[in-house]
Amino acid sequence: MARKDRRRFLTGFVAASAASALTPSMTRGAEEESAQKELAQNTRAPSALPPNAQVAAAETQTPHELPPNRIGGPAGSDFMVDVIKTLGIKYCPANCASSYRGIHESLINYGGNKMPEFLTCMHEESAVAMGHGYFKVSGKPLMTLCHGTVGLQHASMAIYNAWCDRVPMIVIGGNDLDASTRPPSVPTFHSAQDINALVRDFTKWDDTPVSLQHFAQSMVRAYKIAMTPPYGPVMIALDAGLQQEPAKGHGGDKLYIPRYVPTAPPAGDSGAVKEAAKLLAEAQNPVIVADRLARTPNGIKLLVQLAEALQARVIDQQSRTNFPRTHYLSAPPSAVQGADVILGLELADFWNTVNSWTDNGEHGVGRNSSRIKQGTKLISINASDLITKSNYQDFQRFQVIDVQMAADAEATLPALIEAVRSAIPAARRSAIAQRGEAAKKAHAEDHARTRQAAALGWDASPISTARLCMETYNAVKALDWSIVSQSGNVSNWLTRLWPIEQHHHWLGRSGGYGVGYGAPASVGAALANRDAGRFSVNIQADGDLMYAPGVLWTAAKHKIPQLAVMHNNRGYHQEVMHVQRLANFRSRASNYGGDLGPVGTRIENPDIEYHKLAESMGWWARGPIKEASQLAAALREAVKVVQSGTPALLNVWTQPR
C-alpha cells in the first residue's frame, strides 16, 4: 500500500488540529497584550496558552496555495465508487463512521449520491435489515457501510438474520489496519486485525483487499457470491488507508474493473430428479411442503404446475410466498399426517416439518413425536445443503431423507415437472383427478373453519388480532398491496385470511428470529415497493419497534411511505409462557410485579405512546386505538396519508395474539 502520501496527509491533519486547539478566537491587538501581561503576573500557567507570533501569523495570513488535489491524483475511493457503479446497486443504507470516510466522501461527491444513494440510518442493524427487506421485494441486493468494529457489532444480528433467511447483502466495514499511521485513541479502539472474523460464521464469503485492483476483484466477486443461490451476506473489510491513497495500479498498471457475469444456480442431479418423480407419480397421497422455494415470482408458477400435475396438496411454510393461498391445493401444516410421499422444497427445518416437540416432558426436557405415518418417503431439494457451517445451528436437527438433492429447488423444478408428467402411469390419472376433488372440498372446509375462528372475539377490546388484520385488509384491498413485515405474532391471520397470491404480497419472516428485524425490514421493503408503485402494509409489533426506532426517522427523511399498524399487545408475548411454564413445573406462582405478566416480559406501566414516537420523527400517526369500532375510520385516513407519500402509523392496542 502507498503509505508515504497518506502519512504526509495525516501529519498535516494532526498539525492543523493542534494549531486550532491552541488558537483562541480572541487573540488580537490589545487583547493579546493584556493577555501577555496577565500571563506574566500569574505564576500558574493557564490550560491553553495564547498563540506565539508564528502561530498567530499562520492563523491570520493567507495560506500558501495547495495543489488542486493534495493526495496527488484521483482518490482510491473514487475508483471504488466506479467499481460499485458497475454492479447497479441502487441504495446504500448506512450509519456514518470515520473508518469509511474516504468512500463515503467519494459516494456522495464523486459519485453524485446516485447508484448507490446513501440513506442515513441511525443503527447498523437497521441498515442491514433495510437491505434484507429491500431484496425480498426487488430481488436486488443492497450494500451497506459500517464501522468495522463497533458498527459491525451493531450490524451482526441483522447479518445473521440475512444468513438464515438466505438473503444477499454486501457489508463493507471500514478498518484502519496500519497501527503506525492510524489516528490514535478512538479510531484505534475501533480498529481490529480481522474485523471479518466477527461475522465469518454467518457470511458466505469475506475478504480484506490490500490494493485497489484487489478491491475491484473482491467487490465483483462478493456480489457474484452473494447472488449465487443459495444467496447470503458477504463481507469486505475496507482499509481506511486504501480508501485515501491515490488511485493507481501495481507498478503503473492501469486499474480495471472485472465484468460481473451471473452464475447459474445449481440444479438437481438428473438421476435423483427421476427417482423423486417416480416416487411422487406413484404415491397415493403426495404432499409438497415449500419454505424458501420461490426465489422469484416464477417459483410460484412452477410450484402451481407441479402441484396441479400431481393434484398434490401444498403446505406453504411462508418464508416466502411460494404458493397462492387461494388455490384449492393450498393446505394447512397438518396435511403431512396422511402423506405417503413428502417433497420438501428449501425447508429451513425438515425435522420439525415431520416431527413435533412438546415443551412439557417429565424432567423439564421436551418430548419428540412423529407427525407422519411410518414408512413415508421423504424427498428434499435444498440449496442450503451446499453452505452448511459448523458453529451456528441454523441447519437444525438431522432428518434422514430418502432422496436428497443439494440443489436450488426453483432451478430444479422445470426438470422435475417434466419428469413427473412422464412418470405418471395412465392408470393413475383418474385417481389423481379424484385426489384434486377431495382437495377442493378440504380447502373449502378449511376456509369456512378459519373464518369462523376469526369471528371469535370479533368485538373484543383490546382489538382481536383477526379483526386487526381484516380491518386493515379492507382498507387496502383495492390497492396493489404488499405486506412488508409482520413482526410479533398475530396468530397467522394475515396468511390465513388475506388472498396472498403474488410474490410481493407476503415476504416471510426474519430468518434468524432476531427481534428488531420487523421495523427496519419493513422500511427497506417499502422503499422497493415505492419504486415499483406499490402500497406497503406493516403489522408492527411493539417490542420489535423499540429495538431501533430511529428507522422511523430514516423512512420520513427519505420519503419512504408505508402504513404501519401496531400490534401493541404491551408485552414480549413469546417469552411469557417460558417463564410461566418453569414456574408451573416448580409449583410456584409467577411474580407479576404489579403488571399483567411475569416480571421482565411486559411493556406497560408506563405504556409507550408509539403514535407520539412516530410523530416526533416525521410520521403521521394516531392512537391509542383500543376499540374495534374506531379502527376502520382511522385506517381510511391513514391510507390516504400514505398514498400522498408520507409514512403513517396507527397505535392499536391488541389482544396478545
Partner: protein, 110 residues
C-alpha cells in the same frame, strides 16, 4: 397420558370443587393468572392457545386438563391455581356469549 385422562373422566374421578362459582371473580382470576395471554381475554384462542369459549368443555374435564396437561400448556398445580379460582374461571368462560357467525360479518364473508 391422554389415555389416563380419558379414564379419569369416565370414572368421574376428577374433583369438582363444591363452591359456588362466580363469573366476575373468574374473569379476574383469568387475567391474574395469565390465562388470557395465550387464550385471549374472551377465550377466543389463537396461535398460542386453544379456543376456550364460547361453550367451554365440562368443568370436570376442564379440571383434569388444567391439572394434568401434557400438551403445549403446562399443568397448573393447586399451589398456584386453587380449585376455587379454577371453578370461577370456568364460570367466566361459560358466561361468554356465543360469537357471531362469520357469514354475518362482512369483512369475513367477502
Amino acid at each position: 397420558m391422554r389415555f389416563l385422562l380419558s379414564v379419569l373422566l369416565l370414572l368421574g374421578l376428577a374433583t369438582t370443587p363444591a363452591l359456588a362459582a362466580d363469573a366476575a371473580k373468574g374473569k379476574a382470576a383469568f387475567m391474574k393468572n395469565g390465562c388470557w395471554q395465550c387464550h385471549g381475554e374472551v377465550g377466543q384462542g389463537g396461535a398460542a392457545g386453544k379456543t376456550l369459549a364460547p361453550k367451554p368443555m365440562p368443568l370436570e374435564a376442564f379440571n383434569v386438563f388444567v391439572r394434568n396437561s401434557n400438551g403445549q400448556m403446562p399443568p397448573y398445580p393447586k399451589e398456584i391455581l386453587s380449585d376455587a379460582d379454577l371453578a370461577d374461571i370456568h364460570a367466566y368462560l361459560q358466561s361468554i356469549p356465543a360469537g357471531k357467525d362469520y357469514k354475518g360479518i362482512p369483512l369475513l364473508s367477502q
